[in-house]
């Protein structure tokens, strides 16, 4: 993330940021940079002709200020961003952002850090971008997550409320995530629910894919606005298609080739994980195309089903992770809906078979097929 708040000369830094110089210093050729721009236009589903426009936009960029708030999280999203193997172009693009406040990596501490944040909010009101990582607890006035003596919800209201836009990174910040899983002891919610007045863009995933954050930033720098979103506030370029519909194992699904047990021949051959409870058919994310860790791999590629981590309340709704269907409330955990249903159908058949036997023995039922004046008024 390069220079954040390592000294007090933030304003000076902003004016002197020169992308070309940065690229040269880090040994990134112009050709690599253009390749990155093409990849970004592809990620954003823009025509290839946009690549030079992206390059131009990035060249002329003025550093937007970024405030990164971290609440109830495992820091997995920060990790996903910071663990890039070598200085990639994407990393440098993220350096364009002047990350003036970020709990995990900022040099400033204590009151100094809090002062920095207060200064940004005051001086750049409506211009800076807020990033939220982790869920926000609301129960008992939000006391379960406090930073510098203030509750998470209080900080989020102030920071996100005054921001140009808020990017919720990861499922916790987007929809409450794991801290919000039943019974949700802290009353954790996502950013939009905690601060309804804020403009929030959700980038769920556990963790988020840093490429999607980069693409969102590029979109913002290029068009000066946030990308189009779906009904769950997620950008369509990254969450517009189901994992199942772009999955590299999809041909095996359509053909009828399934892994039956872990480690069987089908599993070794890379067949479809549908029967192992893969939640690709429930989940909207671009994992199959974008992949994780510099596009190295993603869960399904490594032989494990999708857990549905980018869907709201996935921990409650997608479990059990290794079964197709959720458990039926009120029945034992080993009972699936279809086992219960089969029992129900068999039971119904047995009941009516019994009824038939009794009916057959009641040969002399009265008035069948005859008109009954006492019953029929018609």
């Amino acid at each position: 993330m390069g220079k954040k708040s390592d000294d007090g000369n933030l304003a000076e830094n902003k004016q002197h940021f020169d992308l070309s110089r940065q690229l040269t210093e880090r040994g990134v050729s112009r050709r690599d940079f253009m390749k990155f721009c093409s990849a970004m236009s592809a990620a954003l589903a823009l025509p290839a002709t946009f690549a030079p426009k992206i390059a131009q936009a990035l060249d002329e960029v003025k550093r937007p200020t970024l405030v990164w708030l971290e609440f109830q999280s495992c820091t997995g999203d920060t990790e996903a961003l910071l663990r890039a193997s070598n200085p990639t172009v994407a990393e440098i693009i993220l350096d364009i952002l002047s990350v003036d406040y970020m709990d995990t990596i900022m040099a400033a501490a204590g009151h100094q850090a809090e002062e920095n944040r207060a200064k940004i909010i005051k001086e750049e009101k409506g211009k800076y971008i807020a990033v939220v990582e982790g869920s926000i607890p609301l129960k008992d006035d939000g006391i379960y997550c406090c930073i510098g003596g203030r509750t998470a919800v209080d900080i989020a209201r102030e920071v996100c409320g005054g921001a140009f836009a808020t990017i919720a990174v990861g499922t916790c910040a987007s929809y409450g995530g794991l801290p919000a899983a039943a019974p949700n002891p802290t009353g954790a919610v996502g950013t939009k629910e905690a601060v309804p007045a804020a403009t929030v863009l959700n980038l769920p995933g556990c963790p988020l894919n840093p490429d999607n954050l980069t693409a969102t930033v590029v979109h913002f720098l290029l068009f000066k606005k946030l990308p189009a979103v779906d009904q769950f506030g997620r950008p369509l370029f990254a969450y517009g298609k189901k994992i199942h519909d772009n999955c590299e194992r999809r041909p095996h699904f359509d053909a009828g080739q399934y892994v039956q047990i872990w480690g069987d021949e089908a599993h070794r051959k890379g067949h479809c994980l549908y029967k192992m409870g893969c939640k690709g058919p429930e989940t909207f994310h671009n994992c199959p195309t974008q992949r994780y860790n510099d596009r190295t791999s993603w869960p399904v590629a490594s032989g494990h089903g999708c857990a549905g981590c980018s869907q709201p309340q996935f921990w409650d709704t997608m479990t059990p992770l290794y079964r197709r269907l959720p458990n039926v409330p009120g029945f034992g955990i080993e009972s699936t809906a279809d086992k219960i249903g089969l029992g129900l159908a068999a039971g119904t058949a047995a009941v009516f078979a019994g009824h038939a036997v009794v009916s057959a023995m009641r040969g002399e039922d009265k008035m069948e097929g005859k008109k009954r004046e006492d019953i029929n008024n018609g």
Partner: protein, 217 residues
């Protein structure tokens, strides 16, 4: 003894939609169970076994939905036996009396079977409840189906449902309702068979011919 008459009870749209529903429901259940618990019958990755089975399922779903829509329309323009009022016997005192009598007959409490030309009061109430199951199946099914084209017309119409229920809950409902419908089918075939024997009005053949030999209402 009053005279038997040959009564035209089930009009053509009622019979056609009934048998279309039968075919669609059988197809949907068989393909649906396979989709829920597929067998590894694909020989190569270029096969399309599951693809065709899903295609059958979706096509049958459209047929079923259209059949149900036609039948719903007919309940407003058809004869009195097919009218929507026939499905709410509990709204009239006479209907309640008949429902109670039919229920007593079914449960062997009473030997008297009330005279009915169209649906008996218990059956028609069951049909209304089953109609709700059908609606639930159509809504959950098409909501899940619509996700193949996010932002499409169907997804715009039904996507909001995934806000209230998660996909997995919709799937659970879709599976559970199928078993309830299968339970109904067992009940339905048995009851028609029983009534064919006990009423002697030819209820089984009436679903093919439309006619019943009964005293008039």
């Amino acid at each position: 003894m009053s005279k038997l008459k040959i009564l035209y009870v089930w009009e053509i749209p009622v019979r056609v939609t009934h048998w279309v529903n039968v075919l669609a429901i059988v197809t949907l259940c068989i393909t649906g169970i396979f989709i829920g618990h597929p067998l590894s019958i694909g020989k190569s990755a270029s096969g399309f076994t599951m693809g065709w089975i899903r295609f059958l399922h979706f096509t049958a779903a459209y047929v079923f939905a259209i059949g149900l829509a036609v039948r719903a329309y007919w309940s407003f323009v058809g004869n009195k036996y097919s009218n929507w009022r026939a499905f709410f016997p509990f709204l009239t005192a006479d209907g309640r009396k008949k429902a109670a009598a039919t229920f007593k007959y079914y449960t062997f409490i009473d030997r008297d079977l009330p005279h009915t030309v169209g649906h008996n009061a218990v059956a028609s109430t069951a049909y209304f409840l089953v109609f709700l199951l059908y609606l639930g199946m159509i809504v959950t099914g098409f909501t899940l189906y619509s996700e193949h084209a996010p932002g499409g017309v169907m997804h715009k119409m039904l996507g909001w449902i995934t806000h209230i229920f998660s996909n997995q809950t919709l799937r659970l409902i879709h599976h559970s309702f199928m078993w309830l419908i299968i339970g109904f089918v067992i009940n339905h075939i048995y009851s028609c068979w029983l009534m064919d024997i006990k009423e002697r009005g030819g209820i089984m053949s009436s679903m093919f011919s439309g006619y019943k030999s009964m005293e008039e209402d």
